[in-house]
């Protein structure tokens, strides 16, 4: 991008000419209609393969959080689509997203999930790379002739890596807009999500919670912007919470998901570029802390906070010890849910890993972060598994070839949507506008000419 400084791009060797990303020869206008989508987009292996090149790579994709690699040398191995990467902070503090692939014969050079290293040495034949990707050594170099140009054998990379307030994104597409432009209406909401906290940041410190389901990755995205499912999919959680709360509104959690939720002040939004948002905040009562299902340690830790900082400050801190009641989805793979960072990791057309990163925050007493750990376990134990069971059963039902369409018509024709001056569209909470919106972006990425560079 002209004039743009990017992490990892300064002082890079001259770029290769971009290659064109292959386009799958399908009638995408047939497969993705205005308010329905063909089952093939969830089941077809060729569509999946193409998504892994074009959607995961052709646009900005979430890679990792800067707090996971705080010090020079720190690294995490992640994937861009199915491509193994090492996301690493070099000695100068700059972040690189290197393809985890030796330039000799293709072996991965880093075999662990996280760590710290100044260099990566390939375990197969010993080629050695500095953590900024530079090839620094190989044994028996006289085995290579005079035309052997080592400067062309640095680890390839995701050439465009940018961070927005700690969230690291990457793309291999030289024509992608700047990250800030790509984020569109999601940017302001990322700000809201972070600005709840005194230091305006989150820290990923805990081990991740990894959940696998036998279904397509887009089923998770459909659910993330779905304000229609909670009373049904989460019926057991809502019933259990009501039973155990014994008639009280305190500690019942999610009690606003009953009756006609389209009459509630909750809403969903299409933010541009496939990003979406569902907002529960206007419906929460009596308060975020008061309504949360009681967690282990609730009483003692609330008392300790009140004793430590006084009631007024404690009240404010307790509200940020529990989830944000925001569901912000940055297409294609980053979901901010409650307090957690969820990453969609496709594995196969009918297999997906959802990795949940619990977060802590700085500038608060320890008690707040201990409470955050217990509160971030609750929905993953008692809510999410039922959604994933429904994803798996969708994948099974979608295996029937003769029944072709997935229906996204809710509120498409009820005249209840509003568009603002930024182009953000807001609808009632059961409106399926989010799915219709992200599929527009999906179709664009699957069909337009896309180019890629890897250094």
């Amino acid at each position: 991008m002209k004039g743009q400084t990017r992490a990892g791009a300064a002082n890079a060797p001259e770029r290769d000419a971009p290659i064109a990303l292959a386009r799958l020869d399908r009638d995408f206008d047939h497969l993705v209609r205005e308010d329905r989508v063909h089952r093939a987009v969830y089941t077809d292996p060729e569509i999946f393969t193409s998504e892994m090149l074009r959607v995961f790579g052709g646009t900005w994709t979430y890679l990792a959080h800067e707090s996971e690699i705080p010090e020079p040398g720190d690294f995490r191995t992640v994937r861009l689509g199915l491509r193994p990467l090492v996301v690493v902070r070099d000695a100068s503090g700059r972040v690189h997203a290197l393809f985890n692939r030796c330039m000799h014969r293709g072996a991965t050079v880093c075999r662990v999930e996280r760590g710290s290293a100044s260099h990566f040495q390939c375990p197969y034949h010993g080629w050695t790379y500095r953590n900024d990707g530079r090839l620094t050594g190989l044994s028996l170099p006289k085995g290579y002739g005079p035309d052997f140009d080592r400067s062309q054998l640095d680890l390839r990379r995701v050439p465009f890596v940018e961070s927005y307030r700690g969230f690291l994104f990457g793309t291999i597409n030289p024509d992608a807009p700047p990250l800030l432009e790509f984020l569109a209406g999601a940017r302001d909401l990322i700000d809201q999500w972070l600005d709840r906290y005194p230091d305006g940041n989150v820290i990923v410190r805990s081990a991740a919670h990894r959940m696998v389901y036998r279904g397509n990755w887009k089923l998770a995205l459909d659910n993330a912007i779905d304000g229609y499912h909670p009373p049904f999919s989460h019926r057991s959680l809502l019933e259990m919470a009501a039973e155990r709360a014994g008639g009280s509104d305190e500690g019942r959690d999610m009690q606003w998901w009953s009756g006609d939720v389209d009459e509630s002040p909750m809403y969903v939004q299409a933010l541009g570029n496939g990003h979406t948002f569902a907002d529960q905040r206007p419906a929460v009562f009596p308060s975020s802390w008061a309504q949360q299902r009681p967690q282990p340690g609730r009483e003692a830790y609330e008392a300790a906070l009140r004793a430590a900082v006084g009631d007024e400050k404690a009240e404010a801190l307790l509200q940020i010890a529990v989830g944000s009641q925001m569901n912000l989805n940055v297409f294609p793979n980053l979901l901010l849910i409650g307090s957690q960072i969820q990453v969609i990791e496709p594995i196969a057309p009918d297999r997906t890993q959802l990795t949940w990163y619990a977060t802590t925050i700085s500038g608060v007493p320890d008690e707040v972060n201990v409470l955050r750990m217990r509160s971030q376990e609750d929905f993953l134990a008692f809510g999410e598994p039922d959604d994933q069971a429904n994803f798996e059963e969708c994948q099974r039902g979608l295996s029937i070839p003769e029944i072709e369409w997935i229906d996204f018509r809710r509120h498409a024709h009820t005249g209840t949507e509003r568009r603002d001056e930024r182009g953000v569209v807001t609808g009632l909470v059961t409106d399926e506008l989010g799915m219709r919106h992200y599929y527009e972006e999906w179709k664009r990425l699957m069909t337009v000419p896309l180019r890629a560079v890897t250094r």
Partner: protein
């Protein structure tokens, strides 16, 4: 008495034993499973092993309320992501339940609308490699075991291996569970549908 009343008796909703001191003690107790301790007498070992095996059978029989009765009021059911538990003040776990949240877990399963348990899991909790040692505190016993939970749920069949640490003490003339720490072999890796009781 309704099912819910019975559950409230077994797993009260009013308070939690978890405090800052509680976490300190728990981390110490959990850490002690890494090392052999002093042996216990044969009769104590027999009784403690009997309790652990009974617990496994109750789960396989889906007798969750009877299973809850085996826990002390200050017990924790803990399935960490970090081998050996790490520090639960800094880490989320697959499960970190005091008896209150354990009661919630059972209550949810009993609603009949927990779709991740429709159809319900059928399990075989297989325990081997049982060792019993004195606990850190007087009157407690540590039992360490290797387990495999074989599960059949709808069309899916799988086995979940790992090691388990039980901390036991006597209450009302029976050995009861103070801590059950389930250390899955694949605790930090991708896991499908973990709605079953391990």
């Amino acid at each position: 008495m309704t099912r819910l009343d019975r559950l409230r008796e077994l797993a009260p909703v009013t308070s939690s034993p978890v405090t800052a001191d509680f976490y300190d003690r728990l981390i110490g107790e959990a850490g002690s499973f890494a090392e052999e301790g002093e042996p216990v007498d044969a009769e104590t070992e027999r009784e403690c092993v009997r309790l652990v095996l009974r617990e496994a059978r109750l789960l396989d029989q889906a007798r969750f309320e009877d299973w809850l009765r085996l826990f002390t009021a200050d017990a924790v059911y803990w399935i960490p992501h970090v081998a050996g538990g790490g520090d639960p003040r800094r880490e989320v776990s697959l499960a970190f339940d005091d008896v209150r949240r354990l009661g919630d877990r059972v209550a949810r399963l009993r609603t009949g609308s927990a779709w991740s348990q429709v159809p319900a899991s059928r399990t075989c909790h297989q325990l081997t490699n049982l060792e019993a040692w004195r606990g850190l505190r007087a009157g407690t016993v540590r039992v360490r075991s290797t387990f495999v939970v074989h599960e059949s749920r709808g069309a899916v069949e799988r086995s979940l291996p790992g090691w388990c640490g039980h901390l036991l003490r006597v209450e009302d003339a029976s050995w009861r569970i103070v801590l059950k720490q389930v250390n899955l072999l694949t605790a930090d890796l991708g896991l499908e549908n973990m709605s079953l009781v391990l």
